[in-house]
Symmetry: C2
Subunit: 209 residues, 2 copies
């Protein structure tokens, strides 16, 4: 069964909404409530759940705790994930301190950079030379990494990461990385996202005239 990216994103959103509901002390939720919380339709919510065999209770909705656990399990988030970041530039360092990762059981085990001035073995998350990348990935059995290096070194870094055994990558470099069989690459392109805003803002303005 091949699940669309949007569907997985919605699962993450459901999970986050459920976390909030849990913290507010709620115990049950309807597809309608979840739909409102993440701005989709209630049938979309139920279709998504049905796809993964998640079932609730007719008339009673879903038990939040159970639903949360099921979605978390589907997302593979019932375990702590150890990851690395390659590139200790501004974005790399921002992600290093990103609070949401901590909350969500995502542990950054090390950051790598080619600039000797950035190396810091003593900090709680060590910043290590890229030379040690392979050794570290293999020794720590890291499977997931984030690329925050400049565009021109991103492909090289990816190749090294995959060579070392990385299986999934979140890439912030604005470049179309080569695809490898069995390797997951997800791109976040900030400039492109801002250009989306620019396009639709402009289109909206023209409509008003």
């Amino acid at each position: 069964m091949n699940i669309a990216k949007n569907c997985v994103s919605r699962l993450s959103s459901y999970k986050n909404a459920l976390t909030k509901l849990k913290n507010l002390g709620f115990t049950r939720v309807f597809s309608d409530n979840l739909a409102d919380l993440i701005s989709v339709t209630s049938s979309q919510v139920r279709k998504d759940f049905s796809l993964f065999g998640i079932s609730g209770n007719r008339k009673g909705g879903y038990n939040i705790e159970e639903l949360f656990n099921q979605i978390n399990h589907i997302l593979g988030k019932d375990i702590v994930h150890n990851i690395i970041i390659v590139g200790a530039g501004y974005i790399g360092k921002a992600l290093m301190k990103y609070k949401t990762f901590e909350k969500e059981g995502i542990k950054i085990r090390a950051v790598f950079d080619s600039d000797p001035a950035k190396i810091n073995r003593e900090s709680s998350i060590p910043i290590l030379p890229v030379k040690e990348l392979k050794e570290f990935i293999q020794a720590q059995r890291i499977k997931i990494g984030i690329i925050t290096v400049p565009e021109n070194s991103a492909q090289l870094v990816l190749d090294q990461m995959i060579d070392a055994g990385i299986q999934g990558v979140l890439n912030f470099a604005p470049i179309n990385l080569k695809e490898y069989p069995g390797i997951i690459i997800n791109n976040v392109n900030i400039e492109l996202e801002l250009e989306n805003v620019i396009y639709y803002t402009q289109t909206m303005e023209n409509n008003k005239k």
Copy 2:
């Protein structure tokens, strides 16, 4: 005509690919080449172009310079865009220094924060108190902003931005912001993107077994 977000994203990608081709000295390009560069099919490229009335030359492909200008115009990128960032945390500061924005004619005019310790009126991009947000947006006629504040203040900040006249927002806070008529909101949720990687990596692993 309502253009899908994916289609606008592809336009951005074509533009970036064309920039690279231009820099390499090429003058003409086929739909096939562009398709390869951004990992889509050539008919997808031609369909996208056809949607915007972009036409090339049968047998001769597209003139890179012309195509670039047309796409840039569609994206509203033939002018410099002045934007602001609200939230001078790690991500806000990373975006403040983001090289790609400079290259792409996106000018960050100011960053705002509620923490007095972060204020710096002298730096090349001033960091100002949020109190001055409305005044600045109106005086400078800023239309587009980026939200990089924590989750719990994001909605408040959005309300203030819209009150001041902002029309498009790129939001990094992991929260479903309220929709406003005529206002464009595009969300980037880094945790969610990483969870996508985790999900597909896990799924891939299970397939191997």
